[in-house]
């Protein structure tokens, strides 16, 4: 939602709904061109961003939604003060942007309702970008390089064809509003649990069957929508377990017994392997695992209201999940592991 401060008089120029396909500025005085900070060209017939637009040298806000834009020319780069660009409902795709688009100081970008099939690489250099919307496009994935958008606070990707979320998304330090509804996401990377800045997470209408247990640690989360997912409702016994390899057993021993080693002692690939150890959540075990683990679905009460299936990993079938000495009791809701009520203000599950 691009809420802007309405400016009075000469600073706003509204040329919407005028059937324009070119921007003839002969009737616009020099002073007006200089003073205009907000320009609306909504509901016209532009196929390209008109080059004459760069005459608005002090433009801060441009809305060219609901046209027929297939291409944005390099002239836009001359709008050095442009902070907000809204171009919803056009015909833009990842080939439509000028090469140096990433050098602009844009803070708000709304390209929803276009034809992007891939995340435009030009976006990934927009260091000042705070709000990005690509809702209602044709994206199939989110690039790991999204972590480069370090100023991002709002990311709207609802209504695409995204199948998975890169763990690098969790590296965005200020992301507070993340919308991934109406996609084809099957699982959430546990790294998302590190996103302490997240206030609202929209995941409705996807293909999630469970959530990672770590999601409980998102203590700042106020809104979570999960409806329209095929969430597991009954206890599922999923104890597929491949016996650990010799490498895994050796790695487990080194880690759990804290055997000292220096990087010079081992080949580089083994040092990296040892770094991948994950701690078994079973408090009685205290062990680690690498590739060989047991997936375990456990139901957790959310705020005393909803039972959510959460997934976590145990290092062996003999281990049991934390807070539960009897694996059979996982079939019922666990009060001990319920999320404190004040943690989750509103879970839009149903």
């Amino acid at each position: 939602m691009d809420v802007y401060e309405g400016l009075e008089g000469e600073k706003v120029l509204n040329l919407s709904r005028l059937n324009l396909d070119n921007l003839d500025l002969d009737d616009v005085g020099e002073e007006r061109k200089r003073d205009t900070q907000q320009l609306f060209l909504v509901y016209n017939r532009f196929i390209m961003l008109p080059g004459s637009i760069c005459h608005f040298s002090n433009l801060v806000f441009l809305d060219i939604s609901c046209n027929r834009l297939a291409f944005i020319c390099e002239d836009i780069l001359r709008l050095s003060k442009l902070k907000t660009l809204v171009a919803k409902n056009n015909r833009l795709d990842e080939f439509s942007l000028p090469k140096d688009f990433g050098t602009m100081s844009l803070e708000v970008l709304n390209f929803s309702g276009n034809r992007f099939e891939e995340f435009p690489s030009e976006f990934l250099n927009l260091q000042r970008l705070q709000s990005l919307s690509l809702g209602g496009n044709r994206l199939k994935s989110i690039p790991a390089e999204i972590e480069q958008l370090t100023s991002l606070e709002l990311l709207y990707l609802g209504g695409n064809s995204i199948t998975s979320i890169p763990p690098e998304l969790a590296n965005l330090p200020y992301l507070s509003y993340l919308v991934l509804c109406d996609n084809r996401i099957q699982s959430i990377p546990p790294q998302l649990a590190q996103m302490n800045s997240l206030r609202s997470l929209s995941l409705h209408n996807n293909l999630l069957t469970y959530l990672p247990r770590e999601i409980l640690s998102l203590f700042q989360l106020q809104e979570l929508s999960l409806r329209g997912n095929p969430l597991v409702v009954r206890f599922v016994k999923d104890m597929t377990y491949d016996p650990p390899s010799l490498l895994e057993l050796a790695g487990r021993t080194v880690k759990s017994r804290n055997l000292p080693y220096k990087p010079e002692d081992l080949p580089g690939n083994l040092v990296r392997y040892l770094d991948l150890a994950s701690k078994c959540p079973n408090p009685k075990c205290g062990g680690v695992y690498f590739d060989s683990c047991v997936r375990h679905i456990k139901f957790v009460d959310f705020c005393g209201k909803y039972r959510l299936p959460l997934m976590h990993y145990l290092c062996s079938p003999e281990c049991s999940s934390p807070c539960s000495s009897n694996p059979q009791s996982d079939a019922d809701s666990e009060d001990e592991s319920s999320v404190p009520a004040h943690r989750m203000q509103k879970v839009l599950l149903g």
């Binding site: 309702g113 709207y156 609202s200 409705h204 409702v233 209201k305 009520a341 839009l348 599950l349 149903g350």
Partner: protein
């Protein structure tokens, strides 16, 4: 004459005036109110001051308190914003689209004898200026802005007034009572209201 002729209100203030007249009596003629609200043609300049959006969720903005007989409010739905399934505490509820579109999904009241999810009755997408009506006797509903590009604004009338309702989990039919608050009143942003219930703490809770 049984039924008074409904004059088409030209402005929002006209609409409010006529609503005050209609609700001065003790009985509500649902069809009359629905037709009246539908006949007002939305003019954004008349309601823009009440249309205050929040980026995280939909907002409830009080417009008029109807001499205690009804609440008239404007709800602002950002892209993708939706409500939970809820009831209306035995009150009449009218919902008119001022801008954009809203999808309304009707549900049967949960039947505890039946295991499994709540039964969907029907769904429709309400267009600009259309006015829908619901009451607990009809069922429950979920309202959502399913657009990923357009925000939506709706005008709601509730009579009698109520400030709490039940929300329902679609998968289980489990219900929770929730208190409702306003994001703004008469165009003024109203501060957060904290409510410490037994299970729930809400921050500027907005449940329709």
């Amino acid at each position: 004459m049984e039924q008074t002729e409904v004059m088409k209100p030209e402005t929002l203030n006209d609409l409010i005036k006529v609503l005050h007249q209609i609700f001065s009596s003790d009985t509500v003629n649902v069809e009359e109110v629905q037709n009246l609200m539908e006949s007002y043609e939305s003019k954004p300049e008349e309601w823009m001051e009440y249309a205050q959006f929040d980026k995280f969720r939909y907002t409830r903005n009080l417009v008029d308190e109807g001499n205690g007989k009804f609440n008239l409010m404007i709800l602002c739905w950002g892209e993708g914003h939706g409500s939970s399934i809820h009831d209306h505490t035995d009150s009449h509820c009218f919902m008119k689209l001022l801008q954009g579109q809203l999808k309304e999904t009707l549900f049967e009241w949960p039947d505890h004898k039946i295991n499994g999810g709540m039964t969907k009755k029907s769904e429709r997408v309400l267009q600009e200026n259309q006015c829908a009506y619901i009451h607990d006797s009809i069922g429950l509903h979920r309202v959502e802005n399913v657009s990923h590009t357009e925000p939506a604004v709706s005008l709601h009338l509730y009579s009698p007034q109520f400030d709490q309702c039940n929300t329902f989990d679609q998968r289980t039919g489990h219900r929770n009572t929730v208190k409702m608050t306003f994001w703004s009143k008469y165009g003024e942003r109203t501060p957060f209201t904290y409510y410490c219930g037994k299970h729930i703490v809400k921050v500027a809770l907005c449940v329709q």
